[in-house]
């Protein structure tokens, strides 16, 4: 992939400035429609998900008190993994986006929610909501493009350290929650110079993260195991497994959002003076969906509708699926490529890129890129 601005055939070259603004108006209309129709049904949805998640977590932790018995270990670990995934994806991520703020329920609000993750919600909201969602896929601005440790675009400069990136990516996937915390702290950048290391703001951030990690670790690896008495070690293993499963799953979902083939990246200079229509267009081209059933959508926190989510980050997640056909129709009418695919294919595509870009660009790479692209139209 090459930034959109350097492509031999520009995938939006056929759109006039008028077209782009028309797209913006259509999207604004869809957004307004959803906002005015938010109501009891949506509130009931998120409350039900939260209730199911809490029962599932309580039940699984209850079963894990007897984790010394293999069936209990299996059932409890599976349940806890699902509960943790629901908590992070459909609940935590979306609540912290402010998708449910309109309910005015202080218990389900972006300013009060804290999630079951190493990164404190305050820090995550800054790096994710403000930076990633504003500068989506802009090389040099959006750190989600490779999280600062990987090269995921031909236009990112190659360095020998990238040879190891398949390994880094795998390690990051296993410890993803800590990866996110480090990333939200901008650890690499902030550890680089003494001045940054000593900055009070950075030090306070580190303290906050360590405190949260301390509590999370005490919960999962000391208190719950202690409660299970003779099952102590088995519960430690179960909780570690649930965290690992959650980490691998969320990492895979996130990779599917912006790394698969067909997703565009953008030059830093291209977003100067960007209009609302152009911002929408960048979100449309910079994201990819995952196709699948209802369960897949819930377990990804509806990030399987990454395109819809990036267009409207603060609309209730249960509405993305409802507006998806209209968004797809819009893509088609304007001759744009709606990138979507089943999870194994998208994860494979993202990993293939991680491997390919571990090596420097081949001299012949540029011309070879064009035929690789998805045809214009719905993929």
């Amino acid at each position: 992939m090459t930034t959109l601005q350097r492509k031999p055939v520009n995938p939006v070259g056929h759109l006039t400035a008028e077209d782009v603004e028309a797209i913006g108006r259509e999207l604004d209309a869809i957004r307004d429609e959803v906002i005015t129709s938010r109501g009891e049904r949506d509130a009931a949805y998120i409350r039900r998900v939260i209730k199911v998640q809490r029962w599932l977590e309580l039940g699984s932790r209850g079963v894990l008190l007897f984790s010394i018995l293999p069936p209990a270990w299996l059932v409890g670990t599976a349940g806890l993994s699902v509960a943790k995934i629901l908590e992070n994806m459909e609940i935590g991520h979306n609540v912290m986006h402010g998708q449910w703020d309109w309910m005015r329920d202080p218990k389900i609000h972006s300013t009060t929610w804290e999630w079951d993750n190493a990164s404190p919600s305050e820090q995550w909201k800054h790096s994710h909501n403000e930076l990633h969602h504003t500068y989506t896929n802009v090389i040099g601005r959006d750190n989600d493009l490779g999280y600062g440790i990987m090269r995921v675009d031909e236009d990112q400069r190659w360095h020998p350290i990238h040879l190891g990136q398949p390994l880094w990516n795998f390690v990051n996937a296993c410890f993803f929650e800590y990866g996110i915390a480090a990333y939200d702290l901008e650890l690499g950048k902030n550890l680089a110079t003494k001045k940054r290391r000593k900055s009070p703001q950075f030090k306070a951030g580190v303290k906050q993260v360590l405190r949260k990690i301390g509590r999370q670790v005490t919960k999962d690896y000391v208190l719950h195991p202690l409660l299970s008495g003779p099952s102590f070690l088995h519960t430690i293993a179960a909780n570690a497994t649930a965290n690992l499963v959650r980490n691998l799953w969320t990492h895979s979902v996130i990779m599917c959002g912006h790394f698969p083939k067909g997703v565009e990246t953008f030059e830093k200079t291209s977003i100067e003076g960007e209009t609302r229509g152009e911002w929408y267009l960048r979100q449309m081209l910079g994201s990819a969906n995952i196709s699948g059933g209802r369960l897949m959508h819930i377990m990804t926190g509806n990030l399987s509708f990454q395109i819809e989510h990036h267009l409207f980050p603060d609309l209730p997640s249960n509405r993305y699926q409802e507006i998806a056909p209209r968004i797809q129709d819009l893509f088609q009418r304007y001759g744009l490529s709606y990138t979507s695919g089943p999870m194994p294919k998208q994860v494979g595509s993202a990993w293939a890129k991680v491997f390919r870009l571990a090596l420097p660009n081949r001299r012949t790479a540029l011309p070879a890129v064009a035929p690789e692209r998805e045809p214009v139209g719905v993929a």
């Binding site: 938010r38 309910m103 005015r104 202080p106 005490t218 409660l227």
Partner: protein, 354 residues
């Protein structure tokens, strides 16, 4: 004792760590929502229609409820179309009911989202947000002697709370309602009058017209001697306030308003909520509280009429106008001016700390 307490506090800390990053109450709420002292709730246990336009809700308050004084109001948080809206209702039950239940009577307000929702949807089992009792529309503890109550429509509710709680040696109630059928608690009031607990003057305004202060003089000749408590529409209360001032007895009149007496309008402007990072364009002169709520900001709120000061927030920069008297309050960068958001509207761009 100290050791037991320390042990209990320690044990609670462990339980809190077990549920981190949530709090234990988040799980207990799923099972027993009324036990949470921190987040007060009420459960509807009975719904009883009073008139075509009014319904009485019997509520079981959660732990953490504090016994009210007769005449006070409570606030209920009701989810209307998924949005939590808070409204104040006068308590109509006596504070020392043996079953510990409370009652409020909700009258349909034209265009009122919450009252209409409760009239149509309130069912036993429904959970509502609840706030502790507040308000100073109360009688002194010792017998106040000769008293007069002047009420209209749902303005009867706080007075009903008082009449059900104590006996008064000499009380007159002058109550106005559109028709006989609209009189709340009609049978109960007439029974109180029959047994001489109160003297009742009913006025049916559709037939007899609105009660004027002069009518009141005729109906209650010893009016000037009576301590008076009045509750009803703002127009009526304004007339009474003027009349009592004319009598030179302003200190003997206590009024309870359900809505603020608005005289000014806001000029509009962009309201920025600093901590939540939200900004809204306020064009209609709506109070800052409503502008913030509409934007999904968690605004603190209370009486919504400028009395209780629960909604106060720091104004960091900008200008706001007091909707009651048009007074302008300004803040320049670095300032920290506390403003009541429920009765202040934007008068130009302003930045609030929340």
């Amino acid at each position: 004792m100290a050791a037991t307490q320390a042990l209990r506090a320690g044990a609670w800390r462990v339980v809190e760590l077990l549920t981190t990053p949530l709090v234990p109450a988040d799980y207990l709420d799923v099972v027993a929502p009324l036990r949470n002292r921190e987040v007060l709730r009420a459960k509807v246990v009975a719904v009883h229609p009073e008139t075509d336009r009014a319904v009485t809700l019997t509520l079981r308050p959660g732990r953490g409820w504090r016994r009210h004084e007769p005449g006070q109001y409570l606030r209920l948080g009701v989810d209307v179309d998924g949005v939590r809206l808070w409204r104040a209702y006068s308590l109509t039950s006596a504070p020392h009911r043996p079953d510990g239940l409370l009652t409020v009577t909700v009258t349909a307000v034209d265009g009122g989202a919450v009252s209409r929702h409760l009239l149509a949807k309130a069912r036993p089992g429904m959970l509502l947000g609840l706030e502790r009792p507040a308000g100073d529309f109360t009688l002194p503890a010792q017998d106040p002697g000769k008293v007069l109550f002047v009420t209209a429509g749902s303005g009867l509710t706080p007075v009903m709370g008082i009449l059900r709680s104590r006996s008064l040696s000499d009380a007159v109630l002058v109550h106005s309602a559109p028709t006989e059928n609209d009189v709340l608690f009609r049978d109960e009031l007439r029974a109180l009058a029959r047994e001489k607990s109160i003297q009742l003057v009913e006025r049916h305004t559709r037939a007899d017209g609105r009660m004027q202060p002069s009518d009141l003089e005729t109906a209650v000749p010893d009016l000037a001697e009576r301590h008076t408590w009045a509750c009803g529409p703002n127009a009526m209360l304004d007339e009474l306030t003027g009349h009592w001032a004319g009598l030179g007895k302003a200190g003997q009149l206590h009024v309870e308003r359900f809505r603020p007496a608005v005289t000014a309008t806001g000029d509009g402007g962009t309201v920025t909520f600093l901590r939540s990072g939200k900004a809204v364009e306020s064009t209609d002169g709506a109070p800052l509280l409503e502008a913030g709520e509409a934007a999904g900001v968690l605004m603190p709120s209370g009486c919504r009429m400028g009395i209780c000061f629960s909604c106060v927030l720091p104004l960091r920069e900008g200008a706001v106008r007091d909707l009651r008297d048009g007074r302008l309050t300004t803040a320049t960068e670095g300032d920290n001016v506390l403003v009541q958001t429920c009765i202040s509207a934007a008068a130009g761009p302003c930045r609030l700390e929340i």
